[in-house]
Amino acid sequence: MGDEINYWKLFSDSFNFRYTNPQATVGMMRQASALAKQAGDLQYGLYVDHWLLQTLINVTGDYDEALDLAVQTAVEARKRTYREQMERVCVHEDLISAYLGIDPIGHAKLIEDAMTYMERETDSSIECYYCLLSLRANFEITFGATEKATHTIRRYYSETQSYDRHHFGSAHVELCSLMALRGDWERMLPYTLNGIEVTGDNVQMQGNVATLWAARALALRKLNREVEALVAFQRAKAKADLMQIPIYRVYYDMMCDFHLEVGEVEAALILREHQLKDVIGKGQPYWEAVFRLAYARLLKQIGRPYAEQVSQIRQLSMKLKKPEVVLDPLSAFEAEA
């Protein structure tokens, strides 16, 4: 079965499913990669592997498979065969992304060194430069390094403005995440709308649109503009409901805060449950622990048992280089009245 399919056709068709049935996309890309390599078309194999990695990292969030493949691909890319190939650069960034998704704090030094190296090697004539800016912004926000993140996001925003809608849309999401972190609600508002406009109906960026509506809803609620907030919330939810792939972490954070702002703990709990489902068993121990802790907090808040979450967080911490990054907040949480 499938022998009659050309690998390039299989690969191009796989994009049709990327946001509706990503598992099918992953399967098709795996198969296209294997067939390309079997046919001796190694460059195409690397090209497909990069997109497979992008799908595993950004769409399905399956980091177990992504890590193996990212290492394998980065190692493969050292060969002379790929010297002129753009994806040779991309797969190194994919490897950094994979490490960011698995244990960003435990691997902070490895990630920082690799990013610095890539930034030195990459200039703004290729897209990878913008991907790197996005990675760095993400990395710094994860650490709560708002000053560094502000600097990076400013660059990302201003440099992508005239580059492309994809990155410019993402820059708006990063910017709004940062402003939420700083509680800068009034200034966030125009960026939410601008980001939505920039992103438009691009099917690849509907996660951004959902997130930006969520950010807008939260900001409006913080500013007591309740009617507008509810409309924005509905838009965010409608977009998210249409998506059949895991949605960004920031979306959940914004939506949960939106509910918690008026004491809707149950609604926030449901969202966190969805978020957890998206990461469980997918090789993201740090993020799974973080989400479980957020979930446990809500359970505690409404007097429901949360011991299972605590036990799971302890188990997850064993997979981290620095278990204390989740164990310390866990202890603090347990000590809270």
Binding site: M1, F17, Q23, A24, G27, A34, Q38, A74, V75, D201
Partner: protein
């Protein structure tokens, strides 16, 4: 300084340029916009006349290639000077929208005949024309002429206009002149206005070029749909058609009736088995919007194609795509409910048709079947799966294997895994096709009886029984002395003395080690790769060099434990190891293969010398 309140200044030519060149993706949409204006004008006259159509509604397009002129004439309600100023030349004011909103509550059926919303369609004339002249007259009123050459000024004056309605004359730009070709013009009319109820005539043709009545509203819908699918989709024989109807969806606190019109169909299998469809042609109030809407169908229904007309859908300003908002989701939900109900009906009432659908689209159905439980239940036992013994249905397969799914995910390098499967006398499922494994997992999860999935490549150990017998210690020691990890197990086929098993990522690990040893990676990435390798398990089975599993069920292996075999034992063990390596075919460089062959040759010579 006092605050000054000023009005925005409009640079009309600039605005026209932006709207005309950036709002629309295709300049032919000008035909759609002008026809739609003509249609709405006629509908307003019909409504004003209390639905009397004795005036013979019609739209006439004429091309004059010699002078590069295209004219569009309608006998709608026409315009007076106020209408021209308020609506035609005020961007964003839509006469039709205003009429529509007043009718919407009391006469929704009349409102639904009106299409215009944005008050900017007329601008699109400048997509194709450098000059536009317009003559118009309302019943019992003064006629007017209007002229604009795409500058910020227009001219209008009273004029003799023979009949009620509007006549537009477009001086086409050179790049739009192909529209003066009758076939091109007819094609554009059919594309955008096939279903408009007003007859549209092109040049001297005596028959309207548009269908006017959508096939699903015809008196003989089956025949009309068949003809339509052939004409529009080039589909002579389809497997099944579904004529859409109103669908009630449950909103929890209320219900909502979604007015679905149109037809969905399942094409026969395509030349390329992977070919997916799922694209829907969308009309709103009979006006064409897009033929490539890919999000409206539920994701599992990619083997459908079709055309839908739904007034609940909201077009974007260019009306070339849809806003994906709440109403879009409601329509999608309604469509899903209706297609599922129809498929359920076909499965029970027309099993032969159902079988053809599933068999024709096996690959596609497999790809989507896992995302919808109801759909899964309808097709799971009809899908043939490829196995090492030919195509089989899973229920028959499981009857043979005792509810165990044995499968391989790679065609290359899985021969030895399949060999183990043959030892168990069971067929092995070829799950190298992307959709098969998720399908097997879903099938297993929904079986009432307990079942097991055994991936033969990378997980073949599950087919072996560990053997704890000190008689074999000498054999294992021999290999350990040579740095080879060997274990004793019992497995079928009994004729196989030894197999090499490797972890899933063995090749990648070996390559990574080589790259590190030869210092071929840049420093930060070398550190990451080292970190990765250090996190791999340190047990024997995680080693990329693989484990030789000697088969305690094989007579040869058992004989090697006998004292009589001692003189030839080392040679035979080397032979078994090298053959197993070559047969596995993994992690081998050309140099490794040469060494293995050399070992085989040397061992055979030694055995012969002893013989």
């Amino acid at each position: 300084m006092d605050t000054q309140r000023r009005q925005f200044q409009l640079n009309v030519p600039g605005l026209l340029k932006v709207l005309a060149e950036n709002l629309y993706s295709n300049r032919k949409v000008a035909i759609r916009e002008l026809i739609q204006n003509a249609h709405d004008s006629i509908m307003r006259r019909v409504i004003a006349n209390g639905t009397d159509i004795s005036f013979g509604p019609r739209i006439q397009l004429r091309a004059d290639p010699a002078n590069s002129i295209l004219t569009i004439m309608d006998n709608g309600d026409g315009m007076d000077d106020n209408d021209i100023i308020q609506y035609l030349t005020t961007i964003g004011n839509s006469y039709t929208r205003e009429v529509g909103s007043t009718l919407e509550f009391l006469h929704p059926e009349r409102a639904s005949a009106l299409i215009g919303q944005f008050g900017m369609g007329f601008l699109s004339a400048f997509l194709i024309a450098s000059e536009v002249k317009l003559y118009t007259r309302k019943a019992g009123g003064q006629g007017w002429s209007w002229y604009c050459d795409a500058s910020e000024f227009y001219e209008m004056k009273p004029a003799e206009v023979a009949s009620v309605g509007t006549f537009i004359e477009l001086k086409l730009k050179p790049e739009a002149e192909p529209l003066l070709n009758a076939d091109e013009l007819t094609q554009a009319v059919r594309r955008y206005a096939d279903f408009l109820s007003v007859p549209i005539y092109v040049n001297t043709r005596v028959q309207p070029v548009n269908l006017m009545t959508p096939p699903w509203e015809s008196d003989t819908p089956d025949k009309a749909v068949k003809e339509y699918l052939e004409r529009t989709f080039n589909q002579r024989e389809v497997l099944h058609t579904v004529i859409l109807r109103d669908q009630i969806i449950d909103l929890g606190h209320d219900t909502l009736t979604v007015p679905l019109r149109g037809v969905m169909f399942i094409p026969p299998s395509s030349v390329v088995s992977l070919r997916e469809y799922g694209d829907v042609m969308v009309y709103i109030r009979r006006m064409f919007i897009t033929d490539q809407e890919r999000d409206l169908l539920p994701s599992w229904a990619r083997f459908f194609r079709g055309v839908i007309d739904c007034a609940m859908l909201q077009p974007t300003a260019s009306r070339e795509s849809l806003h994906q908002e709440e109403s879009f989701m409601a329509v999608r939900q309604a469509l899903e409910a209706q297609l599922l109900a129809e498929l359920r009906r076909v499965a029970y009432e027309q099993p032969q048709v159902w079988r053809r659908i599933v068999v024709s689209h096996t690959d596609l159905v497999l790809g989507w079947v896992t995302v919808n439980d109801e759909f899964f239940d309808q097709v799971a036992d009809l899908l043939p799966i490829q196995t090492s013994r030919g195509a089989m249905l899973l229920k028959d397969y499981l009857a043979q294997t005792g509810n165990v799914f044995y499968y391989v995910t790679q065609q290359i390098g899985s021969l030895q895994d399949q060999l183990l499967g043959e030892g168990f006398e069971v067929p092995v499922i070829d799950a190298s096709w992307f959709a098969v494994k998720p399908f097997l997992e879903k099938y297993a999860s929904r079986l009432p009886a307990q079942s097991r999935l055994v991936q033969m490549d990378g997980d073949a150990k599950k087919l072996m029984q560990p053997v704890d017998d000190s008689r074999y210690d000498g054999l294992v020691m021999f290999f350990r002395k040579h740095g080879i990890v060997a274990k004793i197990a019992s497995y079928k086929p009994h004729g196989v003395p030894g197999l090499m098993l490797y972890p899933r990522n063995a090749d990648a690990m070996i390559e990574a080690r080589r790259a590190l040893e030869s210092d071929e990676l840049s420093d930060p990435f070398a550190e990451i790769v080292s970190d990765y390798l250090s996190q791999q398990g340190d047990d024997d089975d995680s080693q990329p060099t693989g484990v030789l599993y000697l088969n305690a069920s094989c007579v040869l292996v058992r004989q090697l434990t006998e004292p009589a075999a001692a003189p030839m034992r080392d040679s035979v063990l080397t032979l078994i190891h090298q053959i197993a390596k070559l047969f596995a075919g993994r992690t081998l460089t050309a140099q490794d293969a040469a060494t293995a062959f050399s070992g085989v040759t040397q061992s055979i010579i030694e055995v012969m010398n002893h013989g």
